[in-house]
Symmetry: D2
Subunit: 281 residues, 4 copies
């Protein structure tokens, strides 16, 4: 891809792979790292419950979103910076890393002080001002692919972050928009090996937004692993039917436990190590 | 569309149409208003030349972009706030309105003081923080449809601006992403009458980004008018072959003159009035 | 487009345009020719009524489909060859040309003896065996673009017909599949001027399948004319609410009359002549 | 899905799965069955070589296409019925099943007498006349998904075959058309579990057309298995660089051997049995 010449994002040879060390947890070749948690943090109780359970069943980080970009201004938008005390509580009660979405250059600094990884969502993949701000952080950035971004555009968005000084970028395939409506999006499974050909950066998959359906999440996770992904970011909710957002695509804690048991058996077959915090605890 | 119930953007009856008055130029039912100019302001000379010519051949506003969101961080990004003196010069030399893209909450205030209309580009249609800031302005906002936004998502993005207090929103169809690659995007011509069924807001069309090819721009403009659009935003460059961006889709001044002659003949057939600044001069 | 080199479909210079003479009615540059009628012929009465009215308000041909390819095997599939007597009756009662869809090499010969133009539908654009059979006919073939065919694939499908010996091909843009669901398909309006750049063949537009909504049909027709189309194929039904197929996208006879009045006023502005059978009657 | 009510294709309960017995080889739940071979049979030598090798490394059937639907009429179209002696030779020299594409109702009877499974390609998924003819055969039909067919349309196409009397239908996901061009198509990996929710029919995957790139084929195969597919149809050529068609997406015999070794290790983890002809030999 011509536009990738002389970029930082470009893979230079077959063995050029970046492994990102996030507080002794790893994202990249040889590891399989799971981030899990609710679509959005709703309150202290659900957050703590979810965090403890996912840690027990196997995860390296809690998905701890305080801000939710929503299509309608009248939908639940997240609890915002009020949730920071919840994030701090989880930090002290578990060994999980904390991961959270940043939406705006306004809260990027405050929020990033309380989390270990920041996420830039699909809707903001083209928000170059935000990418440049994330490029000034000294923390890994999970960059989700835009809903209709080509791989080239996706990689050049990552280049904005890297060019601004932050080389710790984790790419996340999360489904693209197609004509099919049975699934919420179309999981572009071959984006994983394609990205691995083009870039040295780690690649993880969001099985929840790509499928939009709880029943398809386990297949999406296994396919992602089989296609070469370095990890997952999964929506898990203790009570999906009553979730404030994305309930239909969130699995519950029992489903999560079963899924992690299955995944852990498969991971070694793909020459990867399944990471858990308990190893370090 | 259920999600539009109780929104400000929703059309309430067949005759409910908003006409936006921008310094005695109008956008909406009964008018056909053309914004034209280069993809990006490059320097004083080209800007002044272009402005004078487009005013002469028929236009209400200059497309005066100082910031250009670009796929690659290494492409020309616009001249930024250094261009404000150019905008001011055009203001004093012509009767054209000034229109310019805002990318970031950082420059929105400074820039909007020097222009008459602000534009939120396709890449930022989902940048809700920016939409909310635009909602605080007392100026019309041209909101471009995201490259793969449904009409519902497009209208709910407009709702973010309106809900934040600014009801002067002009919608802009600019082509959507499909599998076809002969054109840069696919001009969704039926989005125009569809939007007219759903909302009372004015709808204009960008024939340049939707086609990506200079040769198709005239057909795109005429089709837009015939489908019910209230205006156009056209890329015009005095020397497209040497443009710093988007040259292949920019028409030159001679093509612009010919196109406006054609358009002016057609406009009355569609019960609209072609607006020019010379009316006010 | 490299694949078009040395093809019969390719335009050789700016003035190379094919005008197809179908019994002294013309399809191509300088003319605007409307084919109208129900999605499918249902019975003698509705067919005769529709034919007489559309002829009165302006049309050169009746859309007289006896076969309907349907997504489900349990939907109405057309009345088949039983309808031939209806086609013959219309032939004797009006001056309209007859146009009908061919689905299979089995009925192509029988059916084509009773009609003036044969249509190959979108679903069969890639049915090369059918294209080759149509290539043996001595009648114009209306070839509809596949629902996700690129312009290149569309033109090469036409090449199958031409290469088999029949150079009377009329291309029909009928909407492509995109993510947008408000319209049934996405009318690719710029396909019209794009095809005009690439090929010398006439191009018409189907406003009914492209929009899927009666209310959008007039805008689609006007936009098609403005973008350079040489004609239309419109679904018209005397009682759309009770149509056996495609009722929601069919206009009624009153709407047809109004639409043709509007179109006839516009056609001269685009340097075309609106054709009617009454000229010959 | 409402349109599937009262269809033969619909899954009636979680345990309702059809296993198709093709001469003591099985397609369906509990088995993993690989069909492999060149895009098209080119000559006796390459066909015999390929057949022997793929049988040795693990396959149940040879992909033995005599007809190739091609976008351009001037591309290689297959060797046609002249290849029947080659198919017969392979039959006598190996224990492989023979699988071949049918394009036309003209050759369906002759061809099907010499093969064990017939394939209806993507371009013909909507060719209902062909589907109905395949419905009269007493052989399994592999039905490939149209390039932009929804799952609903895909299943209703299968219903055409079943309704015509043939209930031995194997569905094949082969990639859908999206905006992404790095891959030839977009492998809709979640179509596999989605189809398994909706229908009792077996589902296999074509990793070659979906990816369009040899390097991505192994990942596509493993992801298909992990997502629940019942088998694969893979393009394998002894000398891909000199293949008459689809060389860039064909793997060679050495790559095939390696891939089958990997797949055989994984299959048991997914509660399936990898089928080979040598079991029966």
């Amino acid at each position: 891809m011509e536009s990738l010449e002389n970029t930082k994002v470009r893979k230079q040879n077959e063995n050029h792979n970046t492994i990102i060390n996030c507080d002794n947890n790893y994202f990249g070749e040889g590891y399989f790292s799971v981030i899990a948690g609710p679509c959005a943090i709703e309150d202290m109780d659900m957050a703590i419950t979810t965090a403890r359970e996912i840690e027990k069943y196997g995860a390296v980080a809690l998905r701890g979103s305080l801000y939710k970009p929503r299509t309608s201004p009248y939908s639940f938008q997240g609890i915002g910076l009020d949730g920071i005390e919840i994030l701090d509580a989880i930090k002290s009660e578990t060994n999980l890393l904390l991961e959270s979405e940043i939406l705006s250059t306004n809260h990027i600094q405050v929020l990033s002080d309380h989390v270990d990884l920041v996420r830039i969502g699909s809707r903001n993949m083209d928000n170059y001002e935000l990418l440049k701000e994330a490029g000034k952080l000294d923390k890994p950035v999970i960059l989700k692919r835009g809903i209709s971004a080509t791989l080239e555009e996706f990689l050049l968005a990552a280049e904005y972050v890297m060019d601004a000084g932050n080389e710790q970028v984790i790419l996340c395939e999360r489904g693209i928009r197609s004509f099919e409506t049975y699934t919420r999006n179309t999981l572009d499974i071959l984006a994983i090996p394609a990205l691995k050909e083009l870039t040295h950066l780690p690649v993880i998959v969001d099985p929840s937004h790509s499928s939009g359906k709880r029943s398809l999440v386990p297949s999406a996770c296994k396919a992602a692993l089989a296609a070469g992904a370095d990890g997952l970011i999964i929506e898990v909710h203790p009570d999906p039917l009553n979730a404030l957002s994305d309930g239909s695509q969130s699995i519950d804690l029992i489903e999560y436990r079963k899924l992690m048991e299955d995944i852990q058996k498969l991971v070694p077959l793909f020459n990867k190590e399944f990471l858990t915090t308990t190893v370090d605890a």
